[in-house]
Subunit: 299 residues, 2 copies
């Protein structure tokens, strides 16, 4: 099989019409050109140039090869340009999978910042709860999975994956406006032991149960819904109280409710999970950096 070096050579010779000139143009010495051409002709199985007195003239085969070589070389150059664009953050793509409240807060801010810094990078966003996000990551359908985990669970970040902590998201107690404790600057979980509870998603509900068990009671869960807006609406309607992550509240807060800090503050960890190798992929690295930066400055 030909070598690109040979194709460049035949093009250069076609233009300059001389081995010496081609050598100067390509940064070789003249004998190197002679040797390369001999190798190329051996490969081609037919002469590509003929000596016509002082000048070298391309044969029909040489002309044909030079013609094709020009196209091939420009294709190669185009491929190099494309890769250089990806390496230089002028192009590329990051596929993000984030849980709902993440995709409503951290992610939009990160995307906006990244789009400003590197307009050529395309970002795609899929919304998924952490378990599905991890599956997408494992299946190669996503580059970054934005997940959260409570102290008691591992978020599914198992072998081979790298987890980058982004922020510690404090849980707030959400009470109806009219609730007796709504004026407090902080509440204890025990204070709410007798309340009816509105629970969130499945893993949030698990965390709630563990948390309350730690304080010696089992919460009376009146309703459970994945929808964080619905949770607050149910609270506003006076049907119970809830523990809601600060991130959720920063994205949407029902005005009929009050969010009160909890003491001691329960937290959930929000982190990005990637394949370790991905951290060296320019667009992924840029997005991770941006997410970290955005997370460091709470909205």
């Amino acid at each position: 099989m030909f070598e690109l070096r040979h194709l460049r050579l035949i093009c250069e010779i076609a233009q300059s019409g001389s081995y010496s000139a081609a050598a100067r143009g390509l940064g070789y010495t003249q004998p190197a050109i002679s040797q390369q051409m001999r190798a190329l002709e051996r490969e081609a199985g037919t002469p590509l140039v003929t000596r016509a007195g002082r000048r070298m003239r391309l044969t029909e085969a040489g002309e044909a090869l030079a013609r094709r070589a020009a196209g091939i070389l420009s294709s190669v150059a185009a491929a190099e340009d494309e890769l250089a664009g990806i390496a230089g953050l002028r192009a590329g793509r990051v596929r993000l999978t984030a849980f709902p409240s993440g995709s409503a807060t951290l992610v939009p801010a990160a995307i906006a910042r990244l789009a400003h810094a590197h307009p050529g990078i395309r970002v795609s966003l899929t919304e998924a709860e952490p378990p599905e996000a991890m599956r997408a990551l494992r299946d190669g359908e996503a580059d970054i999975a934005l997940t959260f985990s409570y102290g008691g669970d591992d978020g599914g970040a198992s072998a081979g994956l790298a987890e980058i902590p982004l922020l510690d998201d404090p849980l707030m107690a959400v009470l109806p406006d009219a609730h007796p404790l709504s004026g407090r600057t902080s509440v204890k979980v025990c204070d709410l032991a007798g309340e009816a509870w509105i629970a969130g998603c499945e893993r949030c509900r698990g965390n709630l149960l563990r948390l309350c068990a730690g304080f010696g009671f089992e919460p009376d869960i009146a309703f459970a819904t994945d929808d964080s807006v619905a949770v607050q609406s149910l609270v506003a309607a006076g049907l119970g109280v809830a523990l809601v992550p600060g991130l959720v509240l920063s994205a949407s807060h029902n005005p009929g409710t009050v969010a009160v800090p909890v003491d001691p503050e329960p937290r959930r960890g929000v982190s990005a999970v990637v394949w370790p190798d991905s951290r060296t992929v320019p667009a992924v690295a840029a997005m991770l950096d941006t997410l970290t930066a955005v997370a460091a400055v709470p909205a």
Copy 2:
């Protein structure tokens, strides 16, 4: 700049999804693949694959490169096919420049034979007297010049060019039917010393003068014309006698004339002239061989 080896590699990996499989497919050992890929990624400036557990997955950059590589490799393969066609006489072109009586005799036979043996080869034919044919050859406008020369001149085959003798063409005396010598089996030049002469082309006329001078007389040239048909017509009209090459007579013979062998037989040499390098160009070599073969069997 990339190497074709790298492009083949990324394609193979894209298909097989494994370094080891790619190594088997390409005939390398596995470490060779690892090293090539590392070199390629260094060149590209960005990772091209990520380890996803057991499987290797291409990154966006890797996919992009693999996509382009496939096209590039097929272009290279097409170029190789084209050259292989030229080398294998399934394609190619020969540009022939021949003097008139050659292009009417030897050349048609050679072209027919070559077309039969190698239908893919295109032959182009230009008619030119030897001096112009040599110029075309020097200027690269022809691959083979078919020329003739008399003993006294060199046919213009000067330095750097190779001359391949094809045949010795005997000159015949052409006499009107009614001429007193028209019944003889041979004539001597001296027998025609007192005749009026019809001369051919410029170089033929020069040869006639030298020939007669050798026999101690100067011919009385009544008419001179480049057109070999006209020469014979003038003879047929009783306006003189002529010396005409056998090759000319085999292509056209005026029935009102008689061609008589001359003793001793004057001759002109017919030969093909090429650049020495051309003899290794497949299509040119094939045409030279064919011309030689055709010349060996006088039509």
